[in-house]
């Protein structure tokens, strides 16, 4: 090795190392900036105001509960729709249909993953919500329900692809053993393959949930944006407003450094922490599973 190439090697190694560490740097600096802009809210806005049920920033009402309940209701509803469809689709294309059908359906579902959320929001406004208003006879089609339907569509591709990977990772010998014992393919799926893949499927569900909580444009466009506290199930068919939509809708109009500005960053902190917990838990489930399998291989 001559001197210049050794020098180049050293220099490049440093650059590569720095970019490798950059992910940690970005997470830290994102969290730091959210904290520095959001924490003053705790100082300047009384806690009783933050935990009240009224969000009306113009008159200094900063109750977060309606926004949190808005996020929670659309996320739960979207998950209830998306999980059976997503896991069902994953089983169908991963375990039941021939290979060529799978190769045909997978890119199609990837297209859904690539659709900009603003396009889904647009269709929600011009097609879905008038349709729901007419068929369900509602005063408005811009509701939590409409948001949940579209959020389900947004989280579906994540759920399908992660769940399908999990099913795919189950060794073929498991299935062969069940089939050899006389189980039908259907029984094999339910009693062997799915239980073996359960941690991966759980990860899929959690990532889907994280996707729903964080989605912004679609919910802002179709949920009607009324910060109402969820007190009965009827709210489900009326307008709500999520945490993400509140930030997106109001950040453009606030004065930098005002209470309102700080509270919007505070909501950002809440979202950051929720998605952090969900994503890290989801990935550690996968990690544990990987470990278990290697232990099995060694024993």
């Amino acid at each position: 090795m001559n001197k210049t190439s050794a020098k180049i090697d050293f220099f490049i190694t440093v650059l590569i190392k720095v970019s490798g560490y950059s992910a940690i740097f970005f997470v830290v600096i994102i969290f730091y900036f959210l904290l520095s802009q959001g924490l003053p809210a705790l100082n300047n806005v009384p806690l009783s105001s933050l935990f009240s049920d009224r969000w009306y920033p113009i008159e200094n009402y900063f109750g977060l509960l309606p926004l949190i309940s808005g996020s929670v209701i659309v996320t739960i509803a979207a998950t209830l729709i998306a999980v059976p469809m997503g896991v069902g689709t994953a089983i169908f294309i991963g375990e039941i249909v021939p290979r060529w059908v799978r190769e045909l359906l997978k890119p199609l579902i990837e297209i859904l993953a690539g659709l900009p959320s603003v396009v889904l929001g647009f269709l929600g406004i011009v097609v879905l919500s008038p349709m729901l208003r007419n068929t369900l006879n509602l005063p408005t089609g811009l509701s939590a329900f409409t948001g949940a339907l579209l959020l389900a569509a947004i989280s579906l591709p994540t759920i399908v692809s992660v769940a399908e990977d999990a099913l795919d990772a189950v060794p073929k010998s498991y299935r062969d053993a069940a089939l050899a014992l006389g189980a039908t393919r259907w029984e094999t799926i339910w009693t062997v393959t799915l239980p073996a893949a359960q941690s991966g499927v759980l990860t899929a569900v959690m990532l889907g949930v994280a996707r729903s909580i964080g989605e912004t444009m679609t919910v802002m466009m179709v949920t009607g944006n009324a910060p109402v506290l969820l007190d009965s199930l009827g709210v489900f068919f009326s307008p709500v407003r999520t945490m993400t939509a509140t930030i997106a809708a109001e950040m453009g109009e606030v004065a930098t450094g005002s209470d309102h500005y700080n509270v919007l960053f505070f909501i950002g902190i809440v979202l950051f922490i929720i998605t952090l917990i969900v994503n890290v838990t989801a990935s550690s489930v996968v990690y544990r599973r990987g470990q278990k399998r290697s232990e099995k291989l060694l024993s």
């Binding site: 992910a23 069902g88 297209i111 396009v119 912004t216 444009m217 993400t244 997106a248 979202l271």
Partner: protein, 289 residues
């Protein structure tokens, strides 16, 4: 024997019903995708003309084209690529070729997962806080591009790392045994072999950036600009934001223009998706190992 065979028939019938049920769920998942694509093409096609993609909006955006939004999205995509591609590929090289299996590496992986999970609107907040206000870039293409770049980083890192790892270890051993340094091995052997996979990942990451609205909302997107941006310090119109604006903020907007804008955005994004798929497909069929 009669009972056991009738039991078998029962079990097979259950299987049939189950398969049909799952098939129905899959159908319900896939059908809306086709309907969405078909409907936007059908409704958007009438608005689609040379003028629509080559002229600026006129008459309060109710006439004319959407050129500034198209150009803006192209600028933002290029700007995002300038920051995220070198950094993302560098990080992937580190994880695949250098990183020891220790706690710090695990921390990097957790950080990447975390970056991938941060809601897009929180990226918007961060971009506003650091690039627009703290670093004083103002609402600009630069601030938006940097925000989008950090957001796309995890996609690029993960897919590139996967592509690098799929290059057989023996390739590296041969290069090193011939006297190649670690970097020479990476540059001359590993990277060229992994190139199609890297390109696929980069395009998929940028596709996400091109379609995003929330991160550019307060960092660089403009409601309406009479002329094209002149420098990276200018704000810009962008296709996704424009679609948001004309479908929610402008009353009396002709519906064809809205569908037309959605169609152009769809062509832009799905075109990138298709390119990535084709590269992956060609590389797979050409691969010798």
């Amino acid at each position: 024997m009669i009972t056991s065979s009738s039991l078998l028939i029962k079990r097979q019938r259950r299987q049939k019903i189950g398969f049909v049920a799952l098939g129905t769920l899959t159908f319900l998942t896939v059908l809306p995708i086709l309907l969405i694509l078909g409907y936007i093409i059908y409704q958007g096609a009438p608005a689609f003309s040379w003028e629509f993609i080559s002229a600026s909006p006129s008459n309060g955006m109710k006439d004319g084209g959407i050129l500034p939004a198209i150009v803006g999205t192209i600028y933002l995509t290029i700007g995002t690529a300038i920051f995220s591609v070198p950094l993302g590929i560098g990080a992937a090289i580190y994880l695949s070729e250098y990183a020891p299996d220790n706690r710090v590496t695990r921390l990097i992986r957790i950080a990447i997962i975390n970056l991938a999970g941060i809601p897009s609107v929180v990226y918007g907040l961060f971009g506003l806080g650091i690039f627009v206000l703290f670093l004083n870039f103002g609402t600009s293409i630069l601030a938006s591009s940097m925000t989008l770049a950090i957001m796309t980083l995890p996609v690029i890192i993960t897919t590139t790392e996967e592509a690098l790892r799929s290059v057989p270890q023996s390739f590296r051993l041969i290069s090193v045994s011939l006297g190649g340094t670690k970097w020479q091995t990476i540059r001359k052997v590993v990277l060229p072999q992994a190139l199609p996979g890297i390109l696929t990942g980069v395009i998929l990451g940028l596709e996400r950036a091109a379609g995003e609205t929330a991160p550019i909302l307060f960092t660089g997107a403009a409601f309406f600009l009479p002329q094209l941006p002149n420098s990276p310090m200018d704000a810009t119109m962008a296709l996704p934001y424009h679609l948001y604006v004309i479908s929610t903020q402008v009353p009396g907007m002709p519906i064809e223009i809205q569908y037309g804008t959605a169609l152009v955005l769809l062509i832009f994004v799905l075109g990138m998706n298709l390119t990535a798929t084709l590269i992956r497909y060609r590389a797979r069929s050409k691969r010798q190992w």
